[in-house]
């Protein structure tokens, strides 16, 4: 408990490059794949198991952005439990940009994807003198330990308040 409170209140300066976590898993159901597909990616291989059988995938597969949305869902849950403060609502910042987002293999109903992240860099850039930028590498692996998804994302993290020099005569 103490530990999680400590981590939750981390500032930009406190987040170590190299930190690595396996932060969550999700099993995709046919129902949710179809729901997401109908809203955002209405190709038949995302929306109809029957029609998908005649596609190059030979069956229903999750939309690419569905993987990203599930990554976000698991990341928010993880942050609430362990990381920079979703709960205090201040220090957790917004996503700025994404690089090298790739999908390697289809995700099908019943597949379970496990996500990892590693803090790979803290950028020199500052935003409004209040935020630093944390770059993390994120990957998703299926139940056979095959990589299906990866990307890097830059996220704002609040800078520690500057301590003013105490003695001014």
């Amino acid at each position: 408990m103490k530990n999680s409170e400590f981590i939750r209140s981390r500032w930009f300066e406190d987040i170590p490059v190299g930190e690595f976590h396996v932060f969550g898993s999700h099993s995709f159901t046919e129902k949710e794949i179809i729901e997401f597909g109908k809203k955002y990616s209405p190709e038949t291989f995302h929306t109809s198991p029957e029609a998908a059988f005649d596609s190059e995938y030979r069956g229903l597969v999750a939309a690419e952005l569905h993987l990203a949305a599930i990554w976000m869902k698991l990341m928010v849950d993880y942050m609430e439990r362990f990381a920079t403060g979703v709960q205090d609502g201040r220090r957790n910042g917004a996503g700025v940009s994404v690089r090298d987002m790739q999908w390697f293999k289809p995700v099908r109903p019943g597949h379970t994807i496990t996500f990892t992240y590693e803090i790979c860099e803290k950028l020199d850039r500052r935003v409004r003198d209040k935020w630093g930028i944390i770059r993390s590498r994120n990957e998703g692996f299926n139940q056979n330990n095959e990589r299906v998804f990866s990307f890097e994302i830059d996220i704002l993290a609040e800078l520690a308040p500057t301590v003013k020099p105490a003695a001014e005569r």
């Binding site: 997401f36 809203k39 955002y40 990616s41 209405p42 190709e43 005649d54 596609s55 190059e56 995938y57 939309a63 690419e64 952005l65 569905h66 990203a68 949305a69 599930i70 976000m72 869902k73 928010v76 979703v86 609502g89 957790n92 910042g93 917004a94 996503g95 700025v96 940009s97 994404v98 690089r99 090298d100 987002m101 790739q102 999908w103 293999k105 289809p106 099908r108 935020w131 990307f151 704002l156």
Partner: protein, 154 residues
């Protein structure tokens, strides 16, 4: 569905529009991105965004919908997204914002059936909310199913 063979580098398409309701924002956020600035007006006003706004992933997913519908209208069948080499969220998307996108053809490789697009999503004030580059896989002409991709997959 081999209309994409006629695409030219530099060609641009305007997508249709999508209006994002507050309910859309809250529903997506509750399921995928339950952070205060996507769920509660008060917390959102105090945040860096200055108001209740859509998850960046919802904006991105809506972008894929706009692109998908546009290419479908052109007779081009998308088989999947290969990569998004880079993407930037520029400004927040708020409730009742109207989004549309410009899709510019940056490269068109007929041998590998890959189509690279530069995409700008903007709101009703013509402000750019999202920019990205995206590589799409396109269906082979007619005989598509036989070109067995990833046959080892379950």
């Amino acid at each position: 569905m081999d209309e994409w063979q006629n695409l030219e580098v530099g060609q641009e398409f305007e997508t249709g529009t999508l209006t994002l309701s507050k309910r859309d924002i809250l529903e997506f956020a509750a399921e995928f991105d339950p952070q205060p600035y996507h769920l509660e007006a008060e917390a959102a006003e105090a945040s860096i965004f200055g108001g209740l706004c859509a998850s960046g992933w919802q904006v991105c997913a809506l972008m894929t919908r706009l692109v998908s519908d546009t290419f479908k209208d052109q007779g081009i069948a998308i088989q999947g997204i290969q990569t998004i080499p880079n993407m930037q969220w520029k400004i927040p998307v708020f409730a009742e914002d109207i989004l549309c996108a410009t899709v510019a053809i940056a490269d068109c490789n007929r041998d590998s059936q890959l189509l690279v697009c530069d995409i700008r999503v903007r709101n009703q004030h013509q402000k750019i909310a999202l920019t990205l580059s995206m590589t799409l896989r396109i269906a082979a002409p007619q005989s598509a199913p036989q070109s067995a991709v990833r046959s080892t997959d379950l």
